[in-house]
Amino acid sequence: MNIAERAALVQGLDDVLAGTIDLPSLLEAAREGTVPGTIRPAMTELGWTAVGLPESAGGLGLTVADLAAMSVACGWRLLPPPMRDEALVLAPLLERAETTASSAWLEGLLAGTTSGGGAALPFPSGVDQPDSTGEWFMSLAPGAAVAYVLGGEHSIVIDLAGPGVSVEARAGTDISSGQSHVVVTHSGATTRVDETGDLYRAWFVCLLADCLGTAHAALAMSVPFAAEREQFGRPIARFQAVSHRLADMRVAVELAASGLARVIHLTETRSDDAESALVALCHTVPALAREVCESAIQVHGGTGFTWEYGLHLYYRRVLQVQAALGGAVATARRVGRHYLDAYEGVSVSGGPS
């Protein structure tokens, strides 16, 4: 897929998202602990759930770069995360699981009659891999029938109506998806899918791309606001205290985009540097996106702190990513661990590859 084709694909997605998702209905649904009912039919009509499937299974055979570009749009328009992940993770896992049940769920997903969600082990998962029983916090779509736990070596698919499975819904940081505590005590409810490292890496790249889109949206709301909002007889953007904050937000978004561009390239070329770049970005991109959202709220003043203006939806979405990764201390320590494990004295690694 060339750059123009990718742009057209992303534009098609963005058009549907823009026509389907709006802040007032997201906020109204969030108060009811759900998401607007109009989104799933629109995404089904677009064929969204198939985007992560290989061509042999009726998908488009998209690359990491394609999927990441689409994920930027998901964050930019606040597509509820479980619906993003049904396409990026769940459908491909079901396709690979090759059981009767998984085929039925996949069919349901593609038809818009089945929903799901899941969780991923923080990157890099190393020796930790999902067992057939355990407990996890997951982002699940309303009425989810099937879930996954994504790992770097293998993953599992969970029948949420299966034996020994309990699902306790909890309010999550990101109110557009909520968090469910899923406990599995009977291995009969899970199916293991091997060799899911490619999906696992691609998903983290996409998650960070989503953060980029979210942060960019918060910035895009802030700049015109500051240019129009007047205090002391002039637009607040004319004060350096405000314009420099906006500039720093732009810097954060640019840095995140540059980091993503590199990790996509490294991933697609299977470079030895891909893993260390992705570990590092799992720390920096959510942290940068969080700073942008916090500054966006500050620039908007009291307006930014209101429920109805909706900036908190962007902030919560990014906070949820940091939380799922274990928090910024954990992500920084993972970077340090990865670096130190590879450390062999003073040397400089090769080029951009």
Partner: protein
Amino acid sequence: MTDLPEIPPTLTSDESDEELRHTLRSWIRNNDPGPPPREYGAKMAALTEWQAQLHAAGFIGMSWPRQFGGGGRPLSAEAVLAEELARSSRPQLINRLALYTWGPTIFDWGTEDQKARFLPGMLDASELWCQGFSEPEAGSDLASVRTTAIADGNELVLNGQKVWTSRAELSKWNGMLVRTDPGSDRHSGLSVVIVDMESPGITVRPFPQILDEPHFSEVFYDDVRVPVANVLGGIDNGWKVAMAAMAYERGLFVLERQIGLRQRFDELTGRLVADGRAEGELERLGVLFADLDLLRAQVYRTLAGQITGDLPVGSSSVDKLHLAHVYQRLYSTAFDLLGEEAAATGEGDWMHDLLESRSVSIYSGTSEIQRNIIAAQMLGLR
């Protein structure tokens, strides 16, 4: 601003870059003359000799067009050079201001005569370059330049004072921003003129910086005569030319510094590993590594944009801001972690680098000026 953000291009390298890397690595292994002497004058002479050696071997100006004596390779070749030089005991090219900034500016704005006269000496380091922009009353507010250059026949007569001129005493040529229209104001009436530093009427007075090293000077110009033919890009067109030169001042510059910082970070880790303390500092090491990796990604993005010619206006300010952030954070952290060892000069010299790091958020436009540029040029706030 309401458009969906796109993921930008990044620097990639091909097989010929990897071949070059291989060639350079073995050449450097066989020809590295070892660390330069500590004494400033001897050190500068040694670095000049090193660039001449690299030039003779065909490694200088690799991305310059062939007609200007270059190698006609893509910019990625310069990235390979910077990365391989970083492994040597002499990582910086003495004439990098000429190679990275004035050379490309002359490609764009110079006459054929200027190209023929000025470019060759940049490559073999036989003529070093400096830059005369800042003045006592024109620091961040560069458009307040007062140094005048008044036409007198085929010559301009320069009068005024410049400050912070790095390597003024070693340089043959100085790219200066001067006021050619004495009645003009601000950005109009300025010109960039190439001045021979051996001209009568130039007084260079070293201006020791925070480390008491003579890196830069105050330079006084009293009736200095310069041929009109040395004006670059046309009389009274200097603001445009100066801004173009400053835009070239990112990219490879930041790449070179980024590589240096990564080496120092590895050295810091080495100290901590030797003391058995690295395991206890995973978080701080992780933060530094992640920031450095982001700087590398940012500079690769800038170089990719320079290659394709579609670098967003103002985006090089992003590089400068993040460079300053990472630079200062690395040396602050090193100082905090190493304590007494960092305070002592000598091997490592962390104190030296901590002090020096304070310059990074000041030179070439302070961090505050970079934010003004981003607000105006990237966010449309004016």
